[in-house]
């Protein structure tokens, strides 16, 4: 996977995880263009598209779009499963997750993602194990709420 973006229906970015080295300017441009392209697609269209030289896999969950850019050899259908797994993890962690959870606790959304994927590949295929790791790490955070 090259990158993953989460954005709202108004095109506001909620999370951006980049697995390839790009400057801030380049990232901004890609995000802007890709978000526009996806928002322009009709609801009945397929979840895959070719964009520039990338394969894009995206899915909408409620008010959030989850969008991944994968390589040529990657299996699009399993990427959909990866997106789904991430949503399930967020759901379990926040308890019926909604967009606001991700807005107000964006750093936690990143922490969860980083326990599930590393360098663009899944590091743990057990939902239970990912959540357990997050739980333990959270406990390590100093007692007083600093953030």
């Amino acid at each position: 996977m090259q990158f993953m973006l989460l954005f709202s229906r108004q095109g506001k970015l909620r999370l951006q995880k980049w697995y390839v080295p790009l400057s801030d300017k380049e990232r901004k441009k890609i995000s802007r263009d890709l978000v526009q392209t996806i928002l322009a697609r009709k609801p009945k269209m397929c979840s895959f598209l070719e964009w520039r030289d990338l394969k894009i896999v995206y899915k909408r969950y409620a008010s959030l779009y989850f969008c991944c850019a994968v390589e040529d050899q990657d299996n699009e259908l399993i990427t959909l499963e990866i997106i789904h797994r991430y949503v399930e993890l967020l759901d379990k962690y926040f308890g019926s997750v909604c967009e606001l959870d991700i807005i107000f606790n964006f750093e936690k959304a990143y922490f969860i993602l980083d326990e599930f994927l590393l360098g663009g590949e899944a590091q743990e295929t057990s939902k239970k194990n990912v959540l357990k790791a997050i739980e333990q790490a959270d406990l390590l955070q100093e007692v007083y709420e600093m953030v």
Partner: protein, 779 residues
């Protein structure tokens, strides 16, 4: 100094902003506060401030001043600090900036930390954004962790190693020992990441590939266990056990079995098993089937297995889920070359996908349809593809039109069908056909001699309906110009138009706003050609364009007019109209090579070439009374006798023969004879030296003899002094005079000559044209 506001507080506040300007103001205010807090080196709240900065960064505001702060957080001993610090590093730093190198030492320390979650943070950051230098420095630590028994760390180390190898491929060797027992792990996380690592290594190095081939049996066993084992709640997804791992194993098997018979055989059974037993009701099952199909098609599988794979794809095509249809079409496109017959069986389903609403599916269905067209199915397929061309989005039309032309060219069952198909494309998607289609089509039509009448009639009718599609209009104009006589002569099946109607249509194209300059050029030329075939007057139309603003049209009109003036009587000499026949063939040749950009340049190139040929032939064929007078003056003067053979010119090939048969030019009239001789000036080959010898056969002298000459613009002429200006009677002497002509462009030499002299008391003046200088004189 009050404590900086909390992250969630800030988020709440910013979200209350009603305008962009208000938001910007809040952000600026907060950034200022954060900046001063950073300046104070406040350890307590650094974490909070950086977190807020990260939020503002996500909104699109600059946050580079926080980069160093992230490094300070990473170096802190507090876990919270490290968590936010590493997150900040991944978001704000990129390997192009030197700052990131400062992280290296911290990461090294954290890789050896006593807490696995800290080690995890370090491995994650390195594996996500580590630069080549960092990877080189820390590869050893990663390798160490790859051998640890802690599965939490081992799985992360494996993916980190993948990143290191991608950044610094030479380091791949050092990870080899650590891979020894990776697949014996029970932990799925480690298994999954190990398979990813092995895949990366095998893809990059043929040696590694050979080395790891021996793992095939083990991989097969693991896959088998996954399929056969009972329900495992931890890894279950809709009844399938760890689909992520299954897919990765299938992908690794693909790479290992690719060009190896033994390995392919070893995995045959398991592939068949997966292909037949996997539950297909949910996406996850189909994801595994998809990967299986890709593997079957790529390795050296037996034919039964391949047919099984293609049938799976065929079933995918019928699936309600359009994502499944999409991957099916993509896969079929990959296999259509190698397993053509098997894919043919699903042709009708594929063609149905042309009607799908989704753009990506339509495109793939179109590509696949063209790949499946052959001599047997051409008629049926073309019907569907033409229907698609009619109704598809503009983005497809150019590709579809090209595809139709190609397929028609390869498999057309009859010429008439071929031309009908082309007509259909031009009328439905005429504005989208590629530039080179027009000359290609013209060539095709030219070569289908028996279809000329039919074609011109259909094209004419199409023009009556619609003149907006330029390629159609261009081809139609060209055909009408060429075969206009067939159009009006009653050879067509339907009621034929009369000449004036046809000319009106072409004229309409000239004046229409819809016509491009190129199209106008085509129609003007067509009108000109028809002037030789029709009895009605096309002259007036052409002469109007003599003052056209468009330079191209103006030039054509003027030159055509010149032709008309001189060759009025030629219009009905059908055998002498052969030069017009030459034009189409030459036109087509001159549109190559395709590197000429712009059809205006192209069409004017062949236009000039054709007129050049025209002048040649005309000047050679018609000597007495019929020479072209381009240098001004309306006198048509009969002059030069040559020993030109009287065989008529025919198509291009014999042109050169005629030139070769010319002999010396002479003028002979009223007793005055002028002979021209030639030599080449030595220092400058572009200069021809012509000497005239004037002699007088009458019994009276010709006095005050003056010879004047003029040449076309591209030449320069120098007339030296004559030997005398009395031409003695009865050939008793001659007057000689030297003319030097500079011919830098090596064009055919033409000269207009004026002779004045006094004979028996009366002044005599004569004008003559010399056109048939032998080629040696000017080449």
């Amino acid at each position: 100094m009050p404590a900086p506001i909390r992250l969630r507080e800030l988020i709440r506040t910013i979200r209350t902003a009603r305008t962009q300007a208000e938001e910007r103001e809040m952000i600026q205010k907060e950034c200022a506060a954060i900046r001063s807090s950073f300046r104070e080196e406040d350890n307590t709240y650094r974490c909070r401030n950086v977190a807020k900065l990260l939020y503002m960064h996500m909104l699109g505001y600059p946050a580079h001043f926080g980069q160093l702060e992230c490094l300070k957080l990473i170096a802190s001993q507090k876990f919270t600090d490290k968590r936010i610090g590493y997150l900040g590093a991944m978001l704000l730093l990129d390997e192009r900036q030197d700052v990131h190198l400062l992280m290296t030492n911290c990461i090294k320390n954290d890789l050896n930390h006593s807490t696995q979650y800290v080690q995890g943070l370090a491995l994650c950051t390195l594996g996500c954004m580590g630069s080549s230098e960092m990877c080189r420095d820390l590869a050893g630590e990663v390798e160490k962790l790859l051998k640890t028994s802690n599965s939490y760390l081992r799985k992360k180390a494996a993916l980190c190693a993948v990143h290191v190898i991608r950044k610094v491929p030479e380091l791949m060797e050092m990870f080899l020992p650590a891979t020894k027992n990776l697949l014996s792990e029970k932990n799925h996380g480690v298994l999954h990441t190990s398979v990813v690592l092995l895949t990366e290594m095998c893809e990059r190095s043929p040696d590694m590939l050979l080395h790891f081939r021996k793992l095939v049996p083990q991989l097969v066993r693991i896959l088998k266990n996954l399929i056969m084992s009972g329900y495992s709640p931890e890894h279950d997804v809709s009844g399938i056990s760890d689909p992520f791992l299954q897919v990765r194993i299938l992908r690794l098997l693909r790479i290992l079995g690719r060009s190896d018979d033994d390995s392919s055989e070893a995995m045959n059974d398991i592939l068949a098993q997966v292909a037949t037993n996997t539950e297909t009701s949910k996406n996850v099952g189909n994801a595994i089937l998809y990967e299986t199909v890709l593997t079957i098609m790529d390795i050296k599988s037996e034919s039964g297995l391949r047919v099984l794979a293609i049938n799976i794809l065929g079933r995918f095509l019928l699936n309600n889920d359009k994502n499944i249809r999409y991957v099916a079409l993509t896969s079929l496109l990959k296999t259509v070359q190698t397993d053509h017959n098997a894919v043919q069986r699903h042709r009708s389903t594929i063609v149905d996908c042309l009607k799908d609403l989704d753009v990506s599916i339509k495109r793939r269905a179109m590509e696949l349809s063209f790949a499946l067209v052959n001599g047997n199915n051409i008629r049926g397929m073309m019907k569907e593809l033409l229907y698609f061309l009619d109704s598809c989005d503009p983005e497809f039309k150019a590709d579809c039109a090209s595809g139709v032309f190609l397929a028609a060219e390869k498999y057309a069952p009859s010429k008439r069908w071929h031309i009908d198909t082309i007509m259909r494309v031009l009328t439905t998607a005429g504005s989208y056909v590629r530039d080179d289609s027009v000359p290609n089509l013209i060539q095709l039509i030219t070569n289908s001699v028996e279809m000329h009448a039919y074609t011109v009639q259909r094209l004419y009718k199409a023009l009556l309906d619609d003149i907006s599609q330029q390629p159609l209009v261009q081809v139609s104009s060209w055909c009408i110009g060429e075969y206009g006589d067939l159009l009006v002569s009653g050879q067509c099946e339907e009621e034929e138009p009369i000449q004036d109607e046809v000319l009106d249509v072409l004229e309409g194209l000239l004046v229409s706003n819809l016509s491009t300059p190129v199209t106008r050029g085509y129609s003007l030329t067509a009108i000109m050609k028809l002037s030789t075939r029709f009895s009605s007057d096309a002259n007036s139309v052409v002469s109007i364009y003599g003052s056209s603003i468009d330079v191209e049209l103006q030039q054509r009109a003027v030159e055509y007019n010149a032709l008309f003036k001189k060759y009025d009587h030629m219009r009905f000499y059908s055998e002498h109209c052969c030069f017009v026949q030459i034009l189409p063939a030459l036109q087509v040749q001159s549109t190559h090579p395709p590197c000429f950009t712009g059809s205006i340049y192209t069409s004017s190139l062949f236009y000039r070439f054709n007129l050049h040929v025209l002048y040649y032939l005309v000047s050679l064929l018609f000597q007495a009374n019929d020479l072209l007078d381009l240098l001004g003056g309306n006198d048509v003067v009969p002059v030069i006798q040559t020993t030109l053979p009287t065989k008529p010119a025919s198509a291009g090939g014999e042109l050169l023969d005629l030139l070769g048969d010319l002999s010396l030019s002479t003028y002979s009239k009223n007793g005055l004879k002028i002979e021209f001789t030639f030599e080449r000036a030595n220092p400058n080959p572009n200069i021809a030296v012509i000497t005239i010898h004037a002699t007088n056969t009458t019994e009276a002298d010709m006095t005050e003899f003056v010879f004047q000459a003029a040449v076309p613009k591209t030449f320069q002429l120098q007339l030296l002094s004559p030997s005398s200006n009395i031409v003695p009677a009865l050939n008793q002497g001659s007057v000689t005079q030297v003319i030097r002509v500079l011919n830098p462009q090596k064009q055919q030499l033409r000269m207009r000559v004026k002779l004045t002299y006094t004979h028996k008391g009366s002044p005599i003046q004569d004008l003559a044209e010399v056109n048939n200088f032998p080629p040696q004189s000017w080449q």
